[in-house]
């Protein structure tokens, strides 16, 4: 265990203690204060890596996890991972600080909240620092799960549950697709390590599975990063508490897809498929998000769509930049490499300004009790600090100086203009469309940014509830103030950020580029009256005109039919799926246990009996058999008698006793054949199940003679006799067939290896310990299942389901 592994695991470890801290100190001390220390500590620790990484070093530490399957928890710290790590912990710390003031310590279930949040943070850290694809996948799905839990945090609201389910379905679907893609590329390259894959890309690019693997992995990335058409889950995810929206659904988790695309660019970049899919989807998402954002009336929904659009922007930049791989080394490479640089820069900027915007919207919601733009207005005098912060965030998003968004937006325009001039990948005529789409999307971006600022803060004060609206408490303002100042500082000192964060990150995405040092990256706010600047000016002019006349053209949105939206299609297909599967399930789930037993035993007869018959497995070998002793024969006769007794028992209690007797007799057999562990287990299990039977017996109706139809009886007879015959045949044929050597010799030196003289126990707890661990886990889950089926069934809808 290395110190670095420990720090990644720290959120998980700390999460165990959160409920205890909550119980002990809440409501005296807000639980958030304890949790706040975790990301802060990791953040400070990660900062110490910056100088080392900026010099081009990378740090690898490996911890064996399941070494026999070549799965190790290898952490790999490079520029890209470090940049994400700093984002996760830095914004994480600010969000937790914010949540301390946002979530009431008297009313909210804080222990749940912070456990989920820490789980997410740990998963995200593991995701960006892990080198093994399976470890990466596990953490990837963990972020989906924790995101689900956080969206459903106010689970009593129907919309929360709906949003949580939607995000879960979509992101898990993508995650599974990604797993398939990862398995494909790992089988091509012969390694599970991403680092080794990047060194050995030829094996992947030359394989027939190149395109399928790429599409599958991109599905994972696109669902996670809410790219069109998977973007529908993000607006519904806004049902989560605002700190969560700021953290997961704008600054970090949705960027995991971007991370994956950036991380795998060295593998897939340079191919035309990658270029077209990533750029195309990114641009469509950019346009779709920004056009839809304008029509939103809920502030958080507006921000959600704007996040979708900004993610599309970053994605399309990564796609454009991947063209650099196509050229090898040359002047063009530098031009396209700049696009990737812009993507990373914008990613950082977006996290700062979008994080602060979400926090300000949260403040507005918190203070006024509404997020509806139509009800808000005139808050400028009441909340001057929030207004300033909103202006900083929104203007940066719109791409105006002097904010960091301006710089990355200009670089984005430069990149799309370059793309228009491309003459490869069949660009030709379509290439001209790229800057046009980008420009139109930017106009809409400008419009919704203006809506965000001016509809909320200017105009008449029209709030009609009795609240006295005032500025938020200082603690709630500090996090957005920090982020807001970063937005401005980013504008004035971009090269500092570039030197220490962006360039090392770029090295990870385009390694060959930095090796050759062809990139002369110097970010300047002013680079003459060039095309990009004119584009920005055009955006501002047209955007202002459109914003001022928004009433006149707003009706356009109504022309788009509701039945064609993706959301509608999603709901429809979900309903239809439920209906169809309901029909199928109701067809065979009759509710009678005897039917289920028929399925189970029938299946066993067909599969086991069928395969024994097909492969000629029926062969008896009695040469090694011992002669049966009188004692054994006696026990056998008694067991047969007790088995037959069950059939003719008139009351339940006598049949239970007969079954119990049979069980004990089997235990006797184990004793005779010198298997004391088995005998003991059988005895105890028999005792406890008989007791359990007696308990259930209390609830069962009187046993009575059943008069049933002949076919029903025949089916039962066939199944009963069939399973008996099959089991007997299998038992008798065991000696006749020896397909494999006995494995018992592996366990014979248990005393030397495990220090245990009881081989059975050594197998259980040591040699096959992981089996036992999972078994007791399953056992506990089954126990909880029985408990919840019996105890929680009477709880009415709407009441607290966790009352027990």
């Amino acid at each position: 265990m290395y110190w670095f592994h420990f720090l990644i695991m720290l959120p998980f470890i700390f999460a165990v203690f959160v409920p205890i801290l909550y119980k002990k100190f809440c409501p005296r001390i807000h639980t958030g204060w304890f949790v706040f220390l975790v990301p802060l500590l990791i953040f400070v620790y990660l900062i110490t890596f910056i100088p080392d990484i900026a010099n081009g070093n990378t740090i690898i530490t490996s911890l064996p996890w399941i070494p026999s399957y070549n799965i190790n928890f290898t952490t790999y710290i490079d520029g890209l991972g470090l940049m994400f790590g700093l984002l996760i912990t830095g914004i994480g710390a600010l969000v937790i600080l914010y949540s301390i003031f946002y979530l009431s310590k008297e009313r909210e279930a804080l222990h749940n909240f912070y456990v989920y949040l820490l789980m997410f943070m740990g998963a995200m850290l593991g995701l960006v620092f892990s080198d093994n694809i399976f470890v990466l996948y596990v953490f990837w799905e963990l972020t989906s799960v924790s995101s689900f839990l956080l969206i459903a945090y106010w689970y009593e609201r129907e919309k929360s549950r709906y949003g949580a389910q939607k995000s879960m379905l979509i992101t898990i679907f993508g995650g599974l697709a990604m797993l398939a893609g990862l398995v494909m590329i790992s089988s091509n390259s012969g390694t599970y390590s991403i680092r080794e894959m990047l060194m050995n890309t030829d094996a992947i690019t030359s394989s027939a599975l190149f395109v399928p693997a790429m599409v599958l992995i991109l599905l994972g990335a696109f669902t996670k990063s809410a790219q069109f058409p998977f973007s529908i889950w993000l607006p519904d995810a806004m049902e989560a508490p605002t700190p969560i929206s700021a953290y997961l659904h704008s600054a970090t988790m949705v960027k995991a897809g971007i991370y994956l695309v950036a991380r795998l660019t060295p593998v897939f970049g340079g191919s035309s498929e990658w270029f077209w899919i990533v750029t195309g989807v990114g641009l469509i998402t950019l346009l779709y998000g920004s056009v839809n954002a304008v029509r939103q009336t809920d502030l958080k929904a507006l921000l959600a769509y704007s996040t979708i659009s900004q993610l599309g922007l970053i994605m399309s930049l990564l796609g454009l930049g991947s063209a650099a791989m196509y050229f090898g080394l040359g002047d063009e490479t530098a031009v396209y490499g700049t696009a990737v640089f812009a993507a990373l820069f914008h990613l950082l900027n977006h996290s700062t300004f979008k994080g602060s915007l979400f926090m300000v919207v949260g403040i507005i919601d918190h203070e006024t009790g509404t997020r509806d733009i139509r009800r808000l207005g005139g808050l400028i005098h009441l909340m001057p600090i929030s207004f300033t912060l909103m202006v900083i965030g929104a203007f940066s998003m719109a791409g105006l100086p002097p904010f960091n968004g301006f710089l990355s937006k200009e670089m984005f325009f430069a990149a799309v203009n370059n793309a228009a001039k491309m003459d490869f990948f069949n660009m030709g005529t379509i290439g001209v469309l790229i800057p046009i789409i980008a420009w139109i999307a930017s106009v809409f971006t400008f419009i919704y940014c203006m809506i965000l600022v001016f509809k909320t803060f200017r105009g008449k004060y029209k709030l009609d509830n009795d609240r006295v609206v005032h500025e938020a408490p200082l603690g709630m303002l500090i996090p957005p103030i920090i982020l807001g100042s970063l937005v401005i500082l980013g504008f004035f000192f971009p090269n500092l950020i570039s030197q220490y964060l962006l360039k090392p990150a770029l090295t990870s995405v385009l390694p060959m580029l930095t090796e050759a040092d062809v990139l002369r990256l110097k970010i300047t706010a002013w680079h003459g009256w060039n095309q990009e600047l004119w584009m920005t000016i055009g955006v501002v002019v047209l955007g202002t005109i459109l914003y001022l006349n928004i009433r006149k053209w707003y009706r356009v949105y109504k022309f788009y039919p509701q039945s064609l939206t993706i959301n509608h299609i999603y709901n429809l297909s979900l309903n239809k799926l439920e209906q169809i599967y309901g029909l199928i399930t109701n067809f065979y789930m009759t509710g009678f246990i005897r039917d289920y037993l028929v399925y189970i035993f029938g299946f066993m007869i067909i599969v086991v009996g069928g395969s024994i018959w097909l492969f000629d497995g029926i062969s008896f070998d009695s040469s090694n058999d011992n002669p049966a002793t009188l004692f054994e024969i006696a026990i056998m006769i008694v067991s047969v008698v007790s088995a037959v007794t069950v059939l003719f028992a008139k009351s339940r209690i006598s049949s239970i006793v007969a079954v119990g007797a049979l069980g004990y007799l089997v235990a006797f057999f184990f004793v005779l054949f010198r298997a004391p562990d088995l005998a003991l287990t059988q005895l105890v299990v028999e005792t406890v199940t008989t007791a359990l039977f007696l308990l259930c017996f209390y609830h069962l109706p009187q046993l009575r003679k059943e008069i049933s139809r002949i076919p029903f009886k025949v089916t039962n007879a066939v199944i009963a006799i069939g399973s008996g015959v099959v089991i007997t045949l299998v038992a008798l044929s065991v000696n006749g067939n020896r397909l494999f050597d006995s494995i018992s010799s592996y366990y014979e030196n248990a005393y030397e290896l495990a220090g245990a003289k009881n081989i059975v126990n050594a197998i259980l707890v040591d040699f096959r310990g992981i089996d036992t661990m999972l078994e007791i886990l399953v056992l506990s889950i089954a126990g909880l299942g029985v408990y919840s089926l019996i105890k929680l069934r009477l709880v009415k809808e709407g009441s607290d389901e966790r009352a027990e």
Partner: protein, 141 residues
């Protein structure tokens, strides 16, 4: 459940339960070298408790033994997973078990094995689960 009122079974149970518990603990401890172990020991222990439940009322037992068996099961699983994670601390693969011998004043040379700790987890999980099931069903009216 109906009110059981049987003097003989009550008196015998009071003594028998102690014997069963002792036997269960013995089974558990001897499991390392002789027949027994966490699963059997745990199940025997819960068999003893079931006897208590059957003889006395569930409520009576619960009053004298205020344990939430769901939590017991959870603690068991946590201990088992915890010993697995513990080996990571020593740079060993997950779930690596170890053992060693120490001199104790009375017992002489005694073996200490981390597998026993794992077994404690198994036993607790088994006790917790079986009793959760039995109590949920038995409690249900």
């Amino acid at each position: 459940m109906k009110e059981p009122n049987d003097v003989i079974i009550r008196s015998i149970t009071k003594i028998a339960v102690i014997i069963i518990f002792t036997f269960a603990i013995n089974l558990f401890i001897s499991g390392h070298h002789h027949p027994g172990g966490g699963f059997i020991g745990g199940l025997t222990f819960s068999a003893g408790l079931v006897l208590l439940f059957l003889t006395f009322d569930i409520e009576t037992v619960r009053k004298n033994l205020p344990l939430d068996f769901k939590v017991v099961a959870a603690i068991g699983v946590l201990i088992a997973v915890g010993t697995g994670v513990g080996s990571l601390l020593f740079n060993e693969p997950f779930l690596t078990q170890t053992f060693g011998y120490i001199e104790l004043p009375v017992f002489g040379e005694t073996e200490l094995a981390s597998a026993v700790l794992f077994d404690v987890g198994v036993a607790l999980a088994v006790i917790g689960t079986s009793l959760t099931i039995i109590m949920s069903i038995g409690d249900d009216r």
